[in-house]
Amino acid sequence: MSAFARRRRTDLLGRSFTSMCGGALAFNLLLALGLLILIAVNGLSFFWQRKVVLLMLKDGTAVLGEVVEREEIPPTSERPTPGHRIRIKVGNRDLYGLDFRWVDESDIASRSEPGDVTMLERFEWGNFYGRMAELRRGDEVLASGEAAVWSAFGPLHEAKLDEHAAIEALEKGPIGDVNVDLEQLRLAERRLALEAPPEAERARRQAEIDSRHAALNAQYEQLSEQLAGMRERLRAESLVMESADGTRKVIAVGDIVAAIQPNRMGTLATARLYLQRLWLFVSDNPRESNTEGGIFPAIFGTVMMVFLMSFAVAPFGVLAALYLREYAREGVVVRTVRIAVNNLAGVPSIVFGVFGLGFFVYLIGGSIDRLFFPESLPTPTFGTGGILWASLTLALLTVPVVIVATEEGLAAVPRVVREGSLALGATKFETTWRVVIPAAAPGILTGMILAMARAAGEVAPLMIVGMVKLAPALPMDHRFPFVHLERKFMHLGFHIYDVGFQSPNVEATQPLVFATALLLVLVVMVMNLVAIVVRNRLRTRYAGSAV
């Protein structure tokens, strides 16, 4: 009987291995999906307006606010029976000193959702929960009683919002321009002092400066007056609100961002409010030390910085990879360079930040300041962190990724294709430029995608070279040269850290952390999708690339 006859082989090991691989993949996918869902649910639920409850406690006090959390109280020696407590966002920080408070459920005598409760979103001091009592202009009472006040409030508030917009337009437009001109004038005067021309010319230029100064000052005076008048008008009307315990608070209508009555809103109205809030979140500027308002400047700063970084890293990375693969002769030097490049990818990102500070900011930026902006000194122009230096630092950080991916793309171009071009009489440069690089374009784009994803998420190096908590202006605006590379900028990654852990009101802003994180993930995903679509179009056009 053959030794092989009775052997029976089962592929148990093989089948288990397949299951293990599938299981590992499923686990990874679940983790990634779970992360996204966690962020999404926590972030998106932040904007859904809850009902406002009125709790009458057993000791007679009243608590008015939104229920945000419910916790189990484990039994202790003083309280053998377990219970629950709820956390209420009571707002009214100017009255109570804090936004949240815990209430033991056993202390609650009654609970209701009164329809006439109004929630005010304010520019300062956070939310206010109470009832509308009166609407006033100075001493004149415009409306009294909740229903009357509510109906009169609507159109009045609309008008106030328009006035807000007008004030902002005035500040950012004409007043901003006058300020910039005044600053330029000051710099011109300093330049004059530094250059020290002959007396006749100096006097002439000084006279010019003085007359221009006078004109600008006059303009500024006039605009200031206009602004002051508008600000006064803004505060003309005020709303008298009554809080849960009967305290009255006078709030200027111009200080109110929005007023809603959550308990009277149906699901449709709440959904509409939700979408409005989502839109405001991505389009508005932040308020109250980044704990309220929108995050538009952070989105703008992140996207602009990633684009600048891409423009910087593409030529550096691609040209370096081209040299390594096409022009350098294989040998010790090339191998060493490759090892060095790969190791560069492992350097901690904060080290890049320090390098960027020393090299870009102090050395190059300082030199630029001395050469081109001496009149501004000692205030640095380019000699301090800014979006340009931040982008270049991140470009350095991601250059190894681009080099490696580009080399892969170049290696994937078959040798016979290069030979075919050379055999037609093309020079090596023409072959590289006209045939090899277009064929390697999908690989290059892969490298760019990886680089952009990495850069969008880096926070540590940026903190040192130009990212700030709150930037006074965007790096792009309507004033020449329109793109201001020396300005500091805001960034979503840093915003998450700042809002979640550095803000004065951590409890209130924790959901904001999730919302911002979700937005960061979405921004990166959108940028990647755009690049992937472009790459796929290139692939079908140049069908044949393996990378």
């Binding site: 294989e330 294709v417 030979e419 075919g420 071009s421 037609l424 006209r434 277009p438 064929a439 140049y542």
Partner: protein, 286 residues
């Protein structure tokens, strides 16, 4: 037919060209009037890849407007020799050359020679078709753009002429903007031929052009070679002896880097002078 029996005295193995030896053009008038002019002269060419010798004192001539075939077993150096004609071996590291190779009388290893110009005049089609990852039009127009022809009307005329010359126009005239990589293997190879002839070369080097093609496509390419013969000097490297017999006017048999025998195809295949040639042709080895 008389020309076929005349073996031009320079198609001779082993011996270097001696001074004073009459060239084909200088032969006395009683030689066949149709004896072709020499385009390439290989003069005791030896080539090393690093330490390995690939060509050993090869001397032969390539006649104008005829098809010359290089045959021999794998590794005999025929592709290496072919790639010397347009100096494509320059691309390989550690290549060393001794001897000379003359194109139209001038040495191609002269440092003053413009290699790119040489490569325009001596075109090449490779074993595996290698169209660029571009459109069909751009593939054919590539050579023209390189050499400075960029006007749309000129390019269109040249592309049409080249595609017609490669017997491909009818099949692709409606899809010139499509990717060249979407064509079949035979079409791609004819595209490469069209691309090569678009720059108006004088010589066409074909390195086993049909080895990756099916018999139908092979037949088409062979017909094409026959048509192109009247316009271009053709040198073809082939594994396929029947193809060499069908297509070529002159044949050179190489073995282990040496030129064993060269002569008119008829003569090589019916009455070879050397034993090795006869053994190879009758299939005893290789």
């Amino acid at each position: 037919m008389e020309a076929m029996n005349v073996v031009p005295p320079l198609l001779r193995a082993g011996a270097p060209l001696a001074e004073g030896e009459p060239t084909v053009a200088e032969r006395p008038a009683d030689a066949a009037a149709t004896a072709p002019r020499t385009v390439f002269e290989v003069d005791a060419l030896s080539l090393w890849y690093g330490g390995t010798r690939a060509l050993n004192h090869v001397s032969l001539t390539i006649p104008e407007k005829r098809v010359t075939a290089f045959i021999g077993p794998s590794g005999c150096g025929k592709s290496t020799l072919l790639r010397c004609f347009n100096r494509l071996n320059d691309l390989v590291d550690n290549v060393r050359v001794e001897g000379d190779l003359r194109f139209e009388g001038a040495s191609i290893y002269d440092p003053a020679l413009d290699v790119n110009l040489l490569r325009r005049r001596v075109g090449m089609v490779f074993q595996k078709s290698n169209p660029f990852p571009k459109s069909i039009f751009e593939n054919v127009a590539y050579g023209c753009r390189i050499h400075g022809i960029n006007r749309k009307d000129e390019l269109e005329a040249i592309v049409e002429r080249s595609l017609r010359g490669a017997a491909l126009w009818g099949e692709v005239k409606d899809r010139l903007r499509d990717s060249a990589l979407g064509m079949s293997g035979g079409q791609q190879q004819r595209l490469c031929i069209a691309r090569a002839i678009a720059v108006e070369p004088e010589v066409l080097l074909l390195d086993e052009p049909c080895s990756a093609l099916d018999p139908v496509a092979t037949a088409k390419v062979e017909d094409l070679i026959h048509e192109l013969k009247s316009r271009y000097t053709t040198v073809i490297v082939t594994h396929n002896m029947q193809q060499a017999a069908r297509v070529s006017d002159y044949t050179a048999f190489m073995y282990l880097g040496e030129l064993i025998e060269a002569g008119a195809t008829d003569q090589i295949f019916t009455a070879p002078a050397k034993r090795e040639t006869e053994d190879y042709i009758t299939g005893r080895f290789g």
